[in-house]
Subunit: 193 residues, 2 copies
Amino acid sequence: MDLAPLQQRFVMHFGEMGARWGVNRTIGQIYALLFLSDRPLCADEIVEKLGFSRSNVSMGLKELQAWRLVTLQHLPDDRREFFSTPEDLWEIVRTLAEQRKAREIDPTLSLLRELAMETPTSDEDRHAQARIGETTQLIELLTGWYDDVRKLDTDRLEKLLALGAAVQRILEVKDRLKLFPGGRQRANPDKEV
Amino acid sequence: MDLAPLQQRFVMHFGEMGARWGVNRTIGQIYALLFLSDRPLCADEIVEKLGFSRSNVSMGLKELQAWRLVTLQHLPDDRREFFSTPEDLWEIVRTLAEQRKAREIDPTLSLLRELAMETPTSDEDRHAQARIGETTQLIELLTGWYDDVRKLDTDRLEKLLALGAAVQRILEVKDRLKLFPGGRQRANPDKEV
DNA sequence: CATAATTTTCAGTAATTTCTGAAATTCACG
DNA sequence: CGTGAATTTCAGAAATTACTGAAAATTATG
């Protein structure tokens, strides 16, 4: 491996972490390398830097493209394919969230919904189904929230995140305004979201 | 395997999914079984239901305890250990988030902070370090938000999630109130959270 | 403290996943 | 359309991870 110590440590770490994120060591390292690079790299450069076989790098890049985590581009007067990651970190976060949802959450949710339709055959089944129903609701709440916030532009999203729990205080103010009116009144204050 | 079809499908699915969540098939299935069960189960019952070896079940339960995802309890006049998952789904979500943060995010964050301190030895290094710095900031923003919302009680958390992007509209109202005052004014409106 | 029920450990094996090198394929360009 | 540079495929090897059974350790109880 031919890398400056700083980059080496980063790349190694993401190799290990890759495993926890549904990709293998090779893929984690390739991604980390491209992420740090100040220019697109071609497959042979990656082979050189990381010491994997050419075919392994080829497969890794394929998978990273399937995840939409790297993009392919051509340089003028060069037949080779060059790869890079987005400059914008938020774009990366959004892609990761999108892909993980598609791979982990969506299939689970459709199974849960399907199971919730089945007719239970015993008390045990009835309990299991109740549990499955609760789980479905909770996941729907979480993914619904996600579907909402992902529509926000980055600037608003950052502000919202920076607010953190403070948003809660603002909501309390909102509620208090409803309880002790001074301005316009809602028709039915009990009907909470 | 000795399970009603409904439970069987659920258990199988979480066996596969377990792999994506940092545990293996056995552990995913054991957890799913306990999750659906209407009463605590002992190791031999799990062996019976899932068809794994006794030792494998023992190791799986150990790991689930390390994750704090199952709790051990004793029944009166019975020497065996019984296991169950929390009734409250939110408790489960919180535990999962806590554990994944501790296993994936925290080690990454401390490495990134360390690397940000190193002295770069080249232009390439300088670019890499800038990227690492950006990443650190972004992760800090996300974990800061998480640290805030996890302190909310379940009721408030659910309401906040249900609001979704609508919270954005409320914030806009808040901003407008600051810009066109009518009530009490903050001392220093620029000093945002 | 002896016993028997229960749980854990661990060395070896089975299963799975990752990785490689050789061969096949693709593709731009003359 | 032939050439050669670049990429991909894939069968098998290597490495890793999961699982088992036998033996050891633990623990409640008489």
